[in-house]
């Protein structure tokens, strides 16, 4: 099963937020096709360190596709060409010997570059802080089974809740919109009885925070859904639009 390939990498290097960046080219030989994309970058960094050069900064953590920390724009696609895959789960067997691979950071006004391939996604936290929660304090809660939830609704809420907050949706969108991210959270709570009390306020607060933070508008291109590593459906955006409109009508 195992075989090795030689590849050329064009990687975005940028020393800091205010510094001009550029592509650097690296040749890498003998990469096992069983290694993951990030393990390939580890090999490159190990080589750079051996050559006493500064390694490439990139974000990564769990390497099992769930923490949402990794995010690279690979050959023009967030997380690469594989569907429903995060960069850490992309494997080198998807590339051919002799391939040239272009690697860039997320590019969006909402996510400024910190260094090389690392961007600041703090805006997502701010959107959640604006209303992405159910306002319950710890303790004094009735029994878990006191709130029955129809199975199909729980499942649909779970589909939305599986968002990993990686930002691929924003990176994929030509408008740099964060609608899929916001919709996933609004939709999760709109589908559950626990989310009803603050339903209208939540939709308004999260959308207004998103706008304030410089994310673009949604023009329904569907690029976010296509690139989402968790395949979150744009039907949640439709639900968010309904939630937002009905909240506004109630004003």
């Amino acid at each position: 099963m195992e075989k090795n390939i030689n590849i050329t990498l064009k990687i975005w290097r940028q020393a800091g937020p205010k510094v001009k960046g550029k592509f650097e080219t690296y040749k890498l030989d003998n990469i096992s096709t069983d290694s993951s994309f990030l393990e390939m970058l580890d090999v490159l960094n190990e080589k750079l360190v051996r050559e006493r050069k500064e390694p490439i900064a990139f974000d990564h953590d769990c390497r099992e596709g769930i923490c949402g920390m990794c995010g690279l724009y690979i050959n023009g696609h967030p997380h690469g060409l594989d569907g429903e895959t995060t960069t850490c789960q992309l494997h080198m067997r998807r590339f051919k010997d002799g391939d040239t691979i272009t690697v860039e950071p997320w590019r969006s006004t909402g996510f400024p570059v910190i260094k090389d391939l690392v961007v600041n996604r703090g805006a997502f936290d701010k959107i959640i802080q604006a209303g992405g929660y159910v306002s319950v304090n710890t303790g004094g809660i009735p029994d878990g089974n006191a709130i029955p939830v129809p199975k199909h609704q729980a499942e649909e809420a779970m589909d939305a809740a599986s968002c990993i907050g990686c930002g691929a949706c924003v990176a994929a969108c030509k408008n740099g919109s964060a609608m899929l991210f916001v919709a996933a959270k609004v939709s999760q709570f709109a589908l559950l009885p626990q989310g009803q009390v603050e339903r209208a306020a939540r939709a308004k607060a999260m959308v207004s925070k998103m706008d304030e933070l410089g994310f673009g508008n949604c023009t329904n291109t569907g690029a976010c859904e296509a690139e989402c590593p968790k395949a979150i459906s744009i039907s949640h955006i439709a639900r968010l639009n309904r939630e937002y409109l009905s909240a506004k009508f109630k004003d």
Partner: protein, 658 residues
């Protein structure tokens, strides 16, 4: 050596965990009834630092802020939601007895204590079982989308080490959903301004003034600047130290540095040798490998574990001449079902791991390395249909296929044990306070509840129990005396000294300019740990490991190379600081494993086993938690003991056979 140790052991001073009076069921209630509290006006005047935003850290930070304290919360990732709790797959235990299958608080307590091979503290484990039900209620109220039955009520599944179904789950992403619940509660407090959040910050030291923890030194990972933060109390929930093994199921940034900093400032490190090897991980496949991926224990509900019965078949499979699906039922050895008929594939993790190792060591392993066993879903697919199996485990199967490029619906998965969790950690008393006043430790970072082995779906339970329901009470008993203490200036000499030492340490690492990359040294340490401080340990191997670790320490401090500048985002420097501490942890683990001349839970000393190859405990000499006190760089640590006196449960040889 052995003799000397034996004497030093019997002379070891005893430490007291301050367990409340009363029967098991009354202790926590009694404690809460009599503890000191802080009134709302005074809470506003008290600052608490919480390090970590995993299940324990985020739930603690949120709950403390809800009570009215000022909270400063730190995480090393770019967002609190990335903490490694997010990767927990299978579920969370609670004693709800919704399935009417005979569960109770006592049974959850008993299973956890037994699962931990009777090396946990009775009173803590009982309290954990007691608050487990409130955790489920809390998470449901937050909007965590747990799996449901058709009637709309919560669904459960079974997990290793239990004969009831008490595990609540959200597909194979339970950790993610629980963490996002805690993260949402935390975010609500950040939005209100009651929690100040510091992302991409790494704690590098704890500052102690007059014997009390009063702050931390942390490095801003974006600018590289070393900064000071003060508070009335410090809470650390920084996770486990499994990455001392280099390859583990932990995330890349998981580390034991906060634990080592606490240890060096006077907190005792308890049971460092107790590390859990998880039986169901994707086997190691290459040198470039950066981490190991766990396949949830929940898979053992429907998957059957086996190896070929005949050595020649195993050999043929390793050479690629035979496929597992070619082997007939009678040529397969379902070794867990054979050895442990009562629990079968659902024996606890340590038992399952050792059984797999035993088969592979005996020459029956599969995969091209011979270090793998099968986890087979053929029977379940026949019994339930592929759709049901897909609904239960779809995301796990997909993950497996992406990594291995094999379809587990068609051919059995290959699995092998890997380091997954550390039961050992910073010693805490009943109030979760370390031996340093005002320094608390929660979640995986402490040692408290799992003894020598943790049962599946209990890590999430403990993290959230500590953060939501225990620490917010016990910390008040400490803070009640502190209401008149004004806020601290970070200009105090203790802060200055701590910062100076950290800056010098960083300077020293940067100036070595040697020939070895950080990873290459870390990998070398990991191999020593796996070979000699891993699943099977013995005196000779552990002594060898201690020698090797000394050499590795020397190599690190004389030959590591860290490129770039320290006042910049510098991932190599971050890793170097962590590896320096993993070396210390590795040494502590080996030392502790050498001391413990018995086998219990995840700690298996080859010299101490039954004729059937099961762990042989020695309750007469080792029914204690070994707590290590730091005595200075290059000095031997001192052993303290917390005697684990069982008032309510009789210790037995663990039996999963009948």
């Amino acid at each position: 050596m052995t003799k000397k140790q034996a004497t030093s052991q019997t002379e070891a001073p005893i430490i007291d965990a301050k367990i409340p009076e009363g029967s098991l069921a009354e202790k926590w209630t009694n404690y809460k009834a009599h503890q000191k509290l802080v009134n709302p006006a005074n809470k506003r005047r008290l600052d608490i630092i919480v390090v970590g935003t995993g299940l324990a850290g985020a739930s603690a930070a949120a709950s403390l802020a809800e009570l009215g304290f000022n909270v400063l919360n730190f995480c090393i990732q770019d967002s609190p939601r990335r903490a490694h709790s997010i990767a927990a797959q299978g579920g969370i235990n609670a004693a709800k007895n919704y399935q009417n299958d005979g569960d109770s608080v006592y049974r959850l307590f008993y299973d956890t204590l037994k699962g931990g091979d009777y090396r946990a503290r009775e009173a803590n484990v009982y309290r954990l079982a007691e608050v487990s039900n409130s955790i489920i209620d809390q998470c449901v109220a937050q909007g965590v989308p747990f799996a449901r039955e058709y009637g709309g009520l919560l669904d459960n599944r079974s997990f290793g080490g239990a004969q009831v179904s008490r595990t609540f789950y959200a597909r194979g992403q339970t950790g993610q959903q629980l963490l996002l619940g805690a993260y949402s509660a935390l975010s609500r407090q950040v939005g209100k301004g009651s929690v100040k959040l510091y992302t991409r910050y790494e704690m590098l030291d704890v500052v102690v003034i007059d014997g009390r923890a009063r702050g931390i030194i942390a490095r801003n990972l974006v600018t590289g600047k070393v900064e000071r933060f003060s508070a009335h109390a410090v809470v650390v929930g920084s996770g486990g130290y499994g990455n001392a093994f280099f390859l583990s199921t932990n995330a890349m940034s998981c580390n034991g540095s906060a634990a080592i900093q606490m240890y060096k400032k006077g907190a005792f490190f308890a049971n460092p040798a107790f590390a859990q090897i998880h039986p169901t991980c994707i086997p190691v496949h290459g040198e470039f490998q950066s981490k190991l991926t766990l396949m949830s224990e929940s898979l053992r509900n429907d998957g059957r574990i086996w190896v070929p019965k005949k050595k020649e078949d195993a050999e043929a499979i390793r050479q690629g001449k035979l496929k597992p699906t070619d082997l007939k039922e009678e040529d397969r050895d379902y070794f867990l079902e054979r050895r442990y008929p009562a629990f079968g594939n659902l024996v606890p993790r340590d038992v399952a791991s050792r059984a797999a190792k035993e088969r592979c060591d005996a020459g029956y392993g599969v995969g091209n390395t011979g270090l793998a066993v099968y986890l087979d879903f053929e029977d379940s697919i026949k019994r339930l249909g592929e759709d049901v199996v897909r609904a239960r485990y779809g995301n796990l199967f997909q993950m497996y296929e992406k990594i291995v490029d094999d379809n587990p619906y068609k051919t059995p998965m290959m699995i092998y044990p890997a380091i997954h969790y550390t039961m050992g950690g910073i010693w805490v008393d009943y109030e979760l306070m370390t031996t340093v006043k005002g320094l608390f430790c929660i979640g995986e970072a402490n040692f408290s509840d799992h003894g020598a082995n943790r049962l599946g779906a209990s890590a999430l339970m403990q993290g959230l129990a500590d953060g939501y329901f225990i620490l917010p009470y016990t910390i008040q008993n400490y803070l009640a005396d502190q209401i008149r203490v004004p806020r601290f200036s970070t200009d105090l000499p203790e802060f200055e000294e701590a910062e100076k030492q950290i800056s010098e340490k960083i300077k020293r690492i940067m100036s070595i300019q040697g020939k070895r990359s950080v990873d290459s040294i870390h990998r070398e340490l990991g191999l020593v740990m796996w070979d000699f401080v891993g699943m099977g340990r013995n005196k000779e191997g552990l002594e060898h490991a201690l020698e090797r670790i000394k050499e590795i320490r020397k190599e690190f401090w004389s030959n590591v190379y860290v490129p770039g500048k320290s006042e910049d985002m510098n991932n190599e420097l971050e890793k170097a600081l962590r590896v320096a501490d993993f070396i210390e942890i590795g040494e502590l683990m080996a030392r502790d494993a050498l001391l413990r001349e018995e086998s219990c839970g995840g700690h298996f000393r080859e010299e101490y086993q039954t004729e059937e190859g099961e762990a042989l405990r020695n309750d007469d000499d080792f029914a204690f938690a070994s707590c290590w006190k730091f005595n200075g760089e290059g000095e031997e640590p001192t052993l303290f003991k917390e005697m684990l006196e069982y008032e309510f449960v009789k210790r037995q040889q663990r039996n999963y056979k009948a």
